[in-house]
């Protein structure tokens, strides 16, 4: 559904509401994913939907209802349900008025027609290219090729009106050899910029070069985290930049802004318009999203807000609301870590003894306040000796504080987009000193 039809639908629903304030969000989306294993497609799916969500405010009370049934009867019922729920909710004295929005513009490259119209045949061809990379080495591969498009339109009774259409594409490959594996990935709004051959080849080389893995002792290591590994680790800090966590005491920033928490080489921004990951220029209240500095040279500068938390903390609304209903508070969804000056190869060359890590798995927070997390290495872990990669090592479990890591790190000079179903960040590779591993595996 294009933005004009979404807006017409949203305005139609808005006109049905007699609530004091009403917000209507229309979401349309199409997601297609071809998933493969052992050099064959085993899950090949396409899904499309249009949904409507109404947030009604009656006095200082809120109700939210949503549906994907869009005939007149259902839409009237939707609005009534939202209003009835609002009337039954107790007053929230801190509830602000809905924001009036403002002009926004989608960043260049957010929507790419070739991605939106990608066919099952195109995805199959990309898979076939990866299968051939596997077959060259007599390996087997597992992964996916994904293309999607999504549109969001939000209107409210304060006059806000915002629409955005975006696309996304991804290739993800785990290459499997006899006793080793290798991983490579690509993320881009433009499917034509994803090089399936290069991704397949890189994952093959990682599997080849990590063959015959040896065990190394757990303990403190110098590690070089490739972007996929560092990005996943870093994501576990993202909630700390929320005004809600900041105020409630669970953030490492809760002791106050304008303090030095991280190394002087650490600068973090939230930037929806970054060229590697151009996204939606407004939040889920139709408030324009600010490109905002969160940490500058290790000093905390800002947390992100939505209308509720901006009002509560008397701070500017930075436009980082999640979709209603939202108990998680505002969130920084487009984190970018500034790069360093050396290439990853230079960082490796300067390492006397360390580990090069392709990817982590199953990271979970062990201690919220100290930002200690645990997780496993997977799919390409290498020993570095005297500045060179000397072979693969068996996987290990780490337990380490992200704050400690960001006080003992050096970044590579290239930025990469990395992510998963739940996050997307733009980060460099990172060299971290004294990274603690607690146990190993036999694989």
């Amino acid at each position: 559904m294009d933005s004009a039809r979404r807006e017409a639908l949203a305005q139609r629903v808005l006109a049905l509401s007699g609530a004091g304030q009403t917000e209507v969000m229309v979401h349309s989306g199409r997601n297609e994913l071809t998933r493969f294993t052992r050099n064959a497609v085993h899950q090949n799916v396409a899904e499309s939907d249009v949904s409507v969500k109404v947030r009604a405010i009656v006095g200082k009370r809120t109700g939210v209802a949503s549906t994907n049934l869009t005939d007149d009867t259902e839409l009237r019922s939707l609005v009534q349900r939202a209003i009835e729920m609002a009337k039954l909710s107790p007053d929230d004295p801190g509830l602000p008025s809905m924001p009036a929005g403002g002009a926004t513009q989608a960043p260049p490259g957010a929507y790419v027609r070739e991605t939106a119209t990608a066919s099952p045949e195109l995805r199959a061809q990309m898979c076939d290219t990866i299968f051939k990379a596997a077959e060259e080495h007599d390996y087997w591969c597992a992964g996916f090729v994904n293309t999607s498009e999504a549109g969001v339109t939000i209107v409210n009774s304060s006059g806000a009106r915002a629409s955005f259409d975006g696309t996304d594409a991804a290739v993800n490959v785990k290459m499997n050899a006899t006793d080793s594996t290798g991983y490579a990935e690509g993320w881009d709004n433009d499917v034509t910029r994803l090089d399936a051959h290069a991704i397949g080849k890189l994952s093959s080389l990682k599997a080849r070069d990590s063959a015959y893995p040896r065990g190394v002792e757990p303990g403190e290591w110098t590690v070089i985290l490739e972007a996929a590994a560092f990005g996943e680790l870093f994501t576990y800090l993202s909630d700390h930049f929320s005004a809600q966590s900041f105020d409630e005491g669970s953030s490492f920033l809760s002791d106050g802004l304008d303090k030095q928490y991280l190394g002087r080489n650490v600068t973090i921004v939230d930037d929806y318009a970054h060229p590697l990951s151009p996204g939606m220029p407004f939040d889920y209240e139709a408030q324009p999203t600010q490109r905002i500095g969160l940490v500058e040279n290790g000093v905390a500068k800002n947390v992100v807000t939505d209308s509720y938390w901006a009002n509560k903390l008397n701070r500017p609304n930075t436009g980082h609301a999640l979709p209603a209903p939202n108990a998680y508070g505002p969130q920084a969804l487009h984190l970018v870590v500034s790069p360093g000056s050396k290439s990853i190869n230079e960082l490796i060359a300067e390492t006397k003894r360390g580990l090069l890590i392709t990817r982590f798995w199953y990271i979970r927070t062990v201690d919220q306040k100290k930002a200690i997390v645990t997780g496993m290495t997977r799919d390409g872990t290498f020993l570095i000796e005297n500045g060179e990669i000397s072979g693969g090592v068996r996987n290990m479990r780490f337990n380490h504080s992200i704050l400690e890591a960001l006080n003992n790190c050096e970044f590579a000079n290239a930025l990469h987009r990395t992510g998963s179903y739940s996050y997307s960040v733009v980060v460099p590779a990172a060299k971290i000193e004294g990274f603690r591993f607690s146990s190993g595996t036999d694989f």
Binding site: V50, E84, P90, W140, N326, V366, D367, G375
Partner: protein, 483 residues
Amino acid sequence: MNFDALAQRALDTATQRGGRYADIRFETDRSERIEARNGVVATLSDSTSRGYGIRALVDGAWGFAASSDLTEAGIDRTAARAVEIAKAGAAIARRRLGETPPRAYTDTFATPVRRDPHDVPLGERVRLLLEAEKALHVSPQISVGRAWMDLWSIDKVFYSTIGSRIEQSIRQTGSGIETMAVGEGDVQTRTFPGDIGLYKSGGWEIIEEAQLRENAQRIGEEAVALLKAPQCPSGTFDIILGGSQVSLQIHESCGHPAELDRVMGWEANFSGVSFLEIEQLGKLKYGSDIVTIVIDNTLPQGLATIGYDDEGTKSITSDIIRNGMLVGYEMSNDTARSIGRESNACVRSQSWEFVPMIRMCNLNLLPGDTPFENLFDDIKDGIYMESNRSWSIDDHRLNFQFGCEMGWEIKNGKRGRLLKNPTYAGITPQFWNSCDAIADKHSWKAWGTPNCGKGEPMQTGRTAQCAAPARFRNVRVGVGYGG
């Protein structure tokens, strides 16, 4: 709404376009959530979604397409898309994966509900949560209080080209409370019941069973007490895990590795593979003799209890671990046939727009014969842990590390001081082989897990693990805090 005509149209279209087999699942999902947070209602929402997913099998390759467009044109387009996608996969296939299911059913199933939650006025539901949340605030050190309730209804009808027509009405309900205390330079959380709330199949009776108001003050007090509690020591100890923590241990270290799609590499790039390889079937001593873990998708009130799975296979009970030995898997039609067995109805999808795949369902560790209080008897120096706080396990499901919200030292058979930040770690088969006592049926409970992630696109599954507290010997404790 009667979907018979639309279903026939979809199956005819898929067949005419080249599908050797096809099925269609119409689903209407309603999800209601209320969450009270720090004295206000942060969430009061009611969401409805209706649509259908079509699977088509062409030359051994599956295609799946889903849409909410319920017009005849929409049905035609989506059925054709499912076949088109299957053909694209078949064109590059190195081998055939898909098979037609072996038998058809015509049947209905409905979750037994003692009291429809909608018979309870919304205002009363909101009041219950506000009162429970308020009772958590026992001290200024309580920074966050939360109380929530989820009501889920799933109405679906499954049709297939081999003649199935299965209509199901599933009702699932859950609620819980959580609090966060901040002070002493620390942050501590407590959750009840278990680590995520109490989630089961059923109606308002599940909310009443949770007893949120009755337990909220205690939970708040425990969170505050944890701020001043000593750190759990590091070292090797005998440990006792509370029932909800045993439930999660089953989920992560038995439920996931026993998914046959994972064993066969279907999840290799994301969720991972499994150490429970097919050649280990009947040979691997997974746990001690007292460890028996069974699938029971017919269990009354089990969160994953349904009549038929999303491939149209009737729910049954079957063994995964019998007296410590690996004897079975969670299976679909395709994966079961590949090892010469029949599906045990473990295929689910999150909702209409997702492809059905193998999911953990109700997976139960059978109770032992030791009264809970006697688990402590011959522990000289150990730790008792309750209520999960963090969980991590490798992509083969061997090396795990879990943390709990609370611990207590055990000295000479008696529960002693409260300890904070307890963690433990191990390797799955060694850990389960160190299990030497499981509490009896009086402390055996169905713990629902409503947020199990798997697959790409990611799907959220609703599983349950029945468990009682259990004792494990010589376990590494305190990892992450110097251990």
